[in-house]
């Protein structure tokens, strides 16, 4: 798994590429929590994520909780079938703010 981060229209966008699993989720968790510190609005691009497991889901939940605590906004976009299916299995589809693409993720 690799991530890259950039700023766009007042938001920070983290693009995740690869598989999120027990081996890679600690690095993802750290990247996301660090990025959240420096922004009011974090958008995570998951279009290149072909696999996510429960440890990756737990990292996303942790970032969401931290965003709520610090009154920031977290948006996920570009969900692949693999990501959608895991969110459904864990009944988290309605907990996250989910958008189709970057343009929508950056809208108000």
């Amino acid at each position: 798994m690799k991530t890259s981060t950039r700023n766009e229209r007042g938001a920070t966008i983290v693009e995740v590429v690869g598989q999120i699993d027990l081996g890679s989720s600690p690095a993802l968790r750290k990247t996301l929590l660090d990025s959240l510190k420096g922004t009011d609005r974090l958008a995570i691009n998951l279009i290149e994520v072909k696999y996510i497991d429960s440890s990756g889901i737990a990292s996303l939940v942790e970032v969401l909780k931290e965003a709520r605590r610090s009154e920031k906004r977290l948006v996920l976009f570009g969900l692949t079938p693999a990501v959608r299916e895991v969110l459904q299995l864990t009944r988290l589809s309605t907990i996250f703010e989910i958008r189709e693409n970057e343009a929508q993720a950056l809208e108000a």
Partner: protein, 135 residues
């Protein structure tokens, strides 16, 4: 086809992508649609991650055996380890909860597979995961 396949891997997370790649291909050999291939891959991966974290307590130099057998009507995985036996009372013990930072793996395994069985056998702990195949 009534064939079996066996894989012995170290209890290190870096080998999980290897097993996932193999399980995904196995699913499609046996005619599972893409979503179910992803499902069994997820279930086996979650089960292996639990063995690494809970049975072997993150010792990465132990051994896990993955045995796959498929017949006409189902595909079955048996995962064998020699670590701490699972406490049955903890499996799916935490209800699925949007706030929790853990406790989802065993729920996912259970909702994906048709049969999930934790047992102790002479060689160690055996976790059986089986899934019906499309007619």
């Amino acid at each position: 086809m009534n064939f079996h396949l066996r894989l012995v891997m170290p209890s290190h997370p870096c080998f999980l992508p290897v097993v996932r790649a193999a399980v995904g291909e196995l699913g499609s050999i046996y005619g599972l649609p893409d979503e179910e291939c992803r499902g069994i891959t997820l279930a086996v991966d979650e089960a292996l991650a639990n063995i690494i974290r809970h049975a072997y307590k993150n010792r990465y130099d132990q051994e896990i055996e993955v045995y796959c057998e498929a017949g006409a009507d189902r595909i079955e995985f048996r995962l064998l380890d020699r670590g701490e036996p699972a406490d049955r009372a903890k499996i799916c013990a935490q209800p699925l909860n949007a706030e929790a930072l853990s406790g989802r793996g065993t729920h996912m395994i259970k909702s994906i597979m048709d049969e999930v069985r934790y047992e102790q056998v002479p060689g160690g702990n055996q976790l059986t995961l089986s899934k019906h195949l499309p007619g």
